[in-house]
């Protein structure tokens, strides 16, 4: 296929190539320093036994990987990651989309609403974790006090210390924090939805779920997939909010791969094994991210979406 560059004179092609290289350099440097170098480091660490101190750690080959697959706690943590991925992805998207649909037609005060919903997302996770830790406190916490005031004493518990509930308690905090992001993105996407199509479907007798499924969702699908990708991948790499609120406890009950990796690397000085666990997060999350990204691109090229 003939291209503009192919037909251009040699001098112009050279100039274009130079410009291309010039434009690619900043991104390449970012890739090298923030992706390839750390990845290279991680790969090196994963085949030695580095304790964080020794300058000459011994080469151990694939021992760290073998240990990882035989480690019961890895599977337990992966199970918690799976819970986090499913609930932590579905809940913000469902709640966020519902709120966005409610805000769609709102004219007065829509900026205020969006600001209120978005605010938790811009708060530092550490601050959120600390504040929600106070809310969940078994003795002084607002939640238990509120339950007591409502006569629901039977529901009072040490939310973050109860192995059955702790992970879900942290998840609620994360959902609260992340939903605002989904709301703002969906509200923006909904602005590009063809309202005439929605009205036409209404005249044709389509009910609300049908209108959402057949008319609205297809138009916002790329944005929907973008939010899905971010929440899904975030579920694999979740660390900060769990670390702040429970540290992976009690007795590993809320451990995910991220907290387990940190615990091994920095609390037990097993940097190499911790790094191997971190690589597992990458290996698991990259296919999802790439797959969803490809789907999003295909839909965009097909002209579907907002």
């Amino acid at each position: 296929m003939a291209t503009l560059a192919g037909n251009a004179p040699l001098v112009t092609r050279r100039a274009q190539r130079r410009l291309g290289i010039l434009l690619v350099i900043p991104v390449s440097l970012i890739m090298v320093f923030f992706f390839l170098l750390p990845l290279g480091n991680a790969l090196v660490y994963s085949v030695v036994d580095f304790d964080g101190i020794s300058a000459t750690p011994p080469f151990v080959g694939l021992d760290n990987f073998r240990e990882m697959f035989a480690d019961d706690e890895v599977w337990h943590a992966l199970g918690n990651n799976a819970v986090w991925i499913v609930i932590g992805t579905v809940a913000p998207i469902v709640i966020g989309l519902s709120i966005a649909l409610l805000l769609w037609g709102v004219q007065r005060g829509s900026v205020l609403y969006r600001l209120c919903f978005f605010l938790p997302y811009v708060l530092p996770p550490v601050a959120i974790g600390i504040v929600w830790g106070w809310i969940y406190d078994p003795v002084q916490g607002v939640l238990n006090r509120a339950l007591g005031a409502l006569g629901l004493d039977a529901l009072q518990r040490g939310w973050l210390g109860d192995p059955t509930w702790a992970l879900y308690a942290v998840l609620v905090t994360a959902i609260w924090s992340y939903t605002g992001f989904a709301v703002v993105i969906f509200v923006s996407a909904l602005r590009n939805v063809d309202v005439e199509l929605v009205d036409a479907s209404r005249i044709d007798g389509a009910n609300s779920p049908s209108r959402l499924w057949y008319i609205i969702l297809p138009q916002i699908m790329p944005v929907f997939l973008m939010v899905l990708t971010l929440t899904l991948v975030g579920g694999f790499s979740v660390f900060d909010i769990i670390f702040v609120m429970t540290g992976g406890g009690p007795a590993d009950a809320t451990n995910v791969i991220g907290t387990y990796s940190y615990n091994q690397a920095f609390q037990l000085s097993r940097i190499s094994y911790g790094t191997t666990l971190a690589l597992l997060i990458t290996i698991l999350s990259v296919p999802f991210a790439v797959g969803l990204n490809k789907l999003q691109r295909r839909l965009s090229l097909q002209g579907t979406g907002a």
């Binding site: 990845l39 101190i53 003795v139 040490g158 192995p163 009690p250 000085s269």
Partner: protein, 431 residues
């Protein structure tokens, strides 16, 4: 297919650079020639965040006192949250940008690991030069491979602080054995008081809970055998000590969900009078007296047959980085910390008991602190029977198993038998 080549090259180059850079610059070998600083010099002193801001102000005051008499040596104080100290310190020391002097734990998993990697300065010649009169038992804790690598900072003991007023109000006497303690706890619970302010969200207090129950049950000889590996950690005595806390939890004599309560919040329960007993260490004596509006007593955790013994030992130590360029100034600072006047100041102001003899005559001390002073003097002299605070004598893997194990028991996820098995497994792994 020309396009991917530069990317592949870029990736390969990055990997090679990574290989070269991973462990470079981390030479942990101590410089062969001691470096001596001359003239005005500033040393960097790294410590963990004290429990109370008032203590930090006192430490700053102490540094000013040193600077006033140091002939030009000044100290830049760095304070880090306790939970971050280990990671940051190790990274700094490896990169050669560590503090000149730092406060750190003395156990094999802490200072021992740094000593093994050659990251701490050998202070054996300094001990000879300055003739620091540190107690022998304390010196042992900072000796690795025959080298004295630190200066022990303070002597501590772990036991139970209790609300004397509340005990008197409920007609409860000082427990003489474990049965008495359980009865007292039941009486307190009936009276609407939380018997123990046990808190284990932070996990590390679990080590103290086991230490105090186990030390009382097996005595110092029994603890020696466990620490040395002569007695396995699956021994019935260990299971029994863990079972005590399982029973207290089962009988609802602890706060609801102790694994959801942080150390600070647990202490607050005691200070506020909502809880009658606080099982922790003597380092909290000063904070307790500052915050509690009632008379406080401090007793050992009882055994099944006696009043029990305190778990005692060394709280931590002060170390000098092997890569410090200001060794003489750093040693001068340590020498100041070992002076009799500074020791007396430490007792009076910080209620921290140095690991060397201090003349405490005439010191204004509360009855609680006087008792702790007397007890710790016995530890130092070797005249009393004291158990051990386990986590300062064992390594990371064992401590991790112990902390998580006790959390597991308190949250109903594990049993004393299973925890004992994990302790033994990790003890063997460490050996």
């Amino acid at each position: 297919m020309d396009a991917p080549k530069p990317l592949v090259l870029l990736a390969l180059t990055s990997m090679v650079v990574s290989l070269a850079g991973c462990f470079a610059g981390g030479s942990a070998e101590q410089s062969s020639a001691p470096q001596v600083s001359t003239g005005p010099v500033e040393i960097r002193y790294l410590i963990a965040q004290p429990e109370d801001t008032a203590d930090l102000n006192l430490i700053k005051e102490d540094i000013k006192q040193f600077e006033a008499q140091s002939n030009g040596v000044t100290v830049k104080l760095d304070v880090l949250p306790t939970e971050n100290l280990r990671t940051i310190l190790q990274t700094q020391l490896r990169s050669g940008s560590g503090p000149d002097v730092f406060a750190y734990d003395t156990g094999p998993g802490f200072a021992g690991a740094l000593a093994k990697a050659g990251l701490v300065h050998d202070l054996t010649p300094a001990y000879d030069k300055f003739d620091w009169p540190v107690y022998d038992f304390a010196k042992e804790r900072v000796t690795f491979d025959g080298k004295l690598v630190g200066v022990p900072s303070q002597v501590e003991e772990v036991g139970i602080f209790y609300n004397k007023d509340l005990f008197a109000e409920k007609g409860i006497g000082e427990p003489q054995n474990l049965g008495d303690l359980m009865s007292a706890a039941a009486t307190l619970k009936e009276g609407g008081v939380i018997p123990f302010s046990v808190n284990d969200k932070d996990a590390w207090p679990g080590g103290h809970l086991l230490s105090m129950a186990l030390s009382s049950e097996v005595g110092s000889d029994g603890m020696d055998k466990l620490i040395s590996g002569e007695t396995p950690w699956t021994d019935a005595s260990v299971v029994k000590a863990l079972q005590v806390w399982a029973d207290l939890a089962d009988q609802k004599l602890l706060p609801d969900s102790p694994t959801a309560i942080s150390y600070d919040n647990g202490n607050a329960l005691f200070y506020s009078g909502k809880a009658a007993m606080n099982p922790t260490g003597s380092w909290l004596a000063q904070d307790t007296e500052r915050n509690a509006k009632f008379e406080v007593g401090f007793i050992p955790f009882p055994s099944s047959t006696s009043k029990g013994i305190f778990s005692g030992g060394l709280g931590g130590g002060t170390f000098v980085s092997a890569n410090s360029q200001k060794l003489d100034a750093a040693e001068q600072f340590l020498d100041y910390q070992m002076s009799p006047e500074r020791g007396r100041w430490s007792v009076e102001k910080l209620q921290a008991i140095p690991a060397y003899p201090v003349d405490t005559s005439g010191i204004k001390a509360t009855p609680l602190f006087t008792q702790i002073l007397d007890d710790t003097a016995k530890i130092a002299e070797g005249s009393g029977d004291f158990g051990y605070n386990i986590d300062v004598l064992t390594n990371d893997a064992f401590n991790n198993a112990m902390w998580k194990g006790v959390q597991g028991i308190l949250s109903g996820q594990s049993t004393p038998e299973k925890v004992a098995e994990q302790l033994q497994k990790n003890f063997k792994k460490a050996s």
